[in-house]
Subunit: 341 residues, 2 copies
């Protein structure tokens, strides 16, 4: 691979001029510029990124830390991040943690090594856990944006939906259909998404004048399997609910599975609502009624905010709350007419 001085030689100019042609072409006379550009193309020259990073003290890379890349929800967010990254000339470094503190720490250290200029966190808890990390890491964090989750009580820039409002849409839909006995499958209770969605759930029931029954809430871990297990518990009861709101689509799919194993029909015997609107939700049997999040847009916005922070071209926004939308499909309907009492 040729270097800048090769180009300089080939074009009969100094390396400073080559550098200018690349970074600030308007400072170079038209014909010098043409000569240099010709040499660049002829030799297929690309500036060495390590040299540039060392000199400019920035890597033009961002690190995306995600708990599980295999989760289609996160994959979609990353997709959005990557779209903007490419547009704005940033490279995406992928950090998959499986919620393993050792791995989280390993990735945070890449920041200290200056491999990335900024950080997008898809996991709200990470910085809290990182408390045990060397002061260097915890202290001077780079520009950073949370996506989806956030860390309550801090004011890091965040992109997400209004989770409580989303939950309200779902529950109101069930109320409108006539359901009175509604259960919920939550995520882990410490999770901020769980809390916000649970809040929306309770508020809506309260507003409707319905007492909510604590025993109708079971927590899973956002996985389909956990939804199925929670569903089995909830539906095996004599006084089972006629509808269940699930904190995400995967758990809703699990509940549907549990229902069908118990011989219950969805939605005739049980209505189920999810959250996210994964690609597979619409193709599920029955097609899943769910609260859609604009996943791609969340990723895109997060990366835009980070780039604005990094390039300080645009005035940085500090928060972006995107809209959810209730998608009514076939997994919800009126409650069964005859209830055994």
């Amino acid at each position: 691979m040729s270097t800048m001085s090769d180009i300089a030689k080939a074009a009969g100019v100094s390396t400073a001029t080559v550098s200018r042609v690349i970074s600030t072409p308007e400072l170079v006379s038209e014909d010098t510029r043409a000569r240099v550009q010709a040499a660049v193309e002829r030799l297929g020259y690309r500036p060495n990124s390590a040299a540039r990073s060392l000199r400019t003290q920035k890597s033009t890379a961002v690190l995306v830390i995600v708990p599980e890349i295999g989760n289609p929800f996160f994959a979609r967010i990353i997709h959005g991040i990557e779209q903007i990254a490419l547009e704005r000339g940033y490279t995406v470094l992928l950090g998959n943690t499986e919620n393993d503190p050792v791995r989280e720490r390993a990735y945070l250290e890449m920041i200290d090594a200056r491999r990335a200029d900024g950080l997008i966190l898809l996991n709200g808890q990470l910085l809290r856990r990182a408390a045990g990390v060397p002061p260097s890491v915890a202290a001077d964090l780079p520009p950073l944006v949370f996506a989806c989750e956030y860390l309550p009580g801090t004011d890091w820039p965040t992109v997400r939906v209004d989770n409580a409002a989303g939950a309200r849409l779902a529950v109101q839909h069930l109320l409108d259909l006539g359901h009175k006995r509604i259960g919920m499958i939550t995520g882990p209770l410490w999770n901020i998404l769980t809390r916000d969605r649970l809040q929306g759930f309770r508020d809506t029931l309260n507003d409707a004048g319905l007492a909510w029954d604590e025993s109708l809430m079971i927590s899973g871990d956002f996985s389909l399997e956990s939804g199925a297990i929670a569903g089995q518990k909830l539906l095996a009861r004599e006084d089972r609910p006629t509808a269940v709101f699930c904190a995400n689509d995967e758990m809703a799919m699990g509940v549907i599975k549990a229902a069908s194993q118990l011989g219950l029909r969805v939605p005739a015997d049980l209505s189920v609502v999810g959250f996210d609107d994964l690609k597979f939700a619409e193709h599920w049997t029955p097609a899943l009624t769910t609260v859609a999040q604009p996943m791609l847009e969340i990723g895109r916005t997060a990366m835009e905010m980070l780039c604005d922070l990094l390039d300080d071209t645009a005035p940085p926004r500090n928060n972006s709350i995107l809209k959810t939308k209730l998608i009514v499909r076939a997994s919800t309907g009126p409650p069964p007419v005859v209830t055994r009492l």
Copy 2:
């Protein structure tokens, strides 16, 4: 952030010694080493990766080029890649192309910029398309490994399953159940996976002495939607097949959807087999019989091969063909007893 010379000063040694403590500690006396390490920890020092890259001429990063990160199949492969990358000290750069040549090229140029030392390609066609790319790119490619797909007629290192053998497992299973009229939904015909799986399909029918009917093969694009469309065409026919082998799980799910829309029951009226064994396959209705690929292992092996190439510690393997496994679930059964003729 402190630099190496800060550490040198703090520990009362030269930067060369600090460097040795970090890279080749066995060359340093025990107490110097301890002093330096203490300083490193106290100041929270991390070597600057740009400086190191510039000096050593390697980035310890690999670029993974993937057609669609949102596809759960690819996401799982990347997961495996990332596991090994972390273990071996490499950073994963993510390149999502959407099969867009402009994007593909943008990512290939990162190689020229020396942002990555090696390349994992999840798309066999990329290098062929890249023919129009500046000679620099096409000519001196870095160490590279194909995963899943490959470029026939070349001998780049490749990790994949034996796709023809996998298809044979699927079709043999259908034959064993008594099916004689078997259709296939393929991927795009130029795709190497399509070709290999189609080959396995035809060979198995031939070996069984069954003539295969060209009109029973329809090509989709590996998406669920395309599977549904292909399914509709195939199943609307008077002489529809009693079983369909699909080149991946998503299309199989689409076929099942099409079948149910036509009032056909799976597997009573139609058996369906997929390929991949996505996470959702086991939870589908009906649970999908499919040919499982060891996705995580494919990713891990590809990254191991690339690291071996890069570090030349281990003798590089040139190919790794991993095993597929037929997973029989609920989407296949004997053909319907009464055929209308």
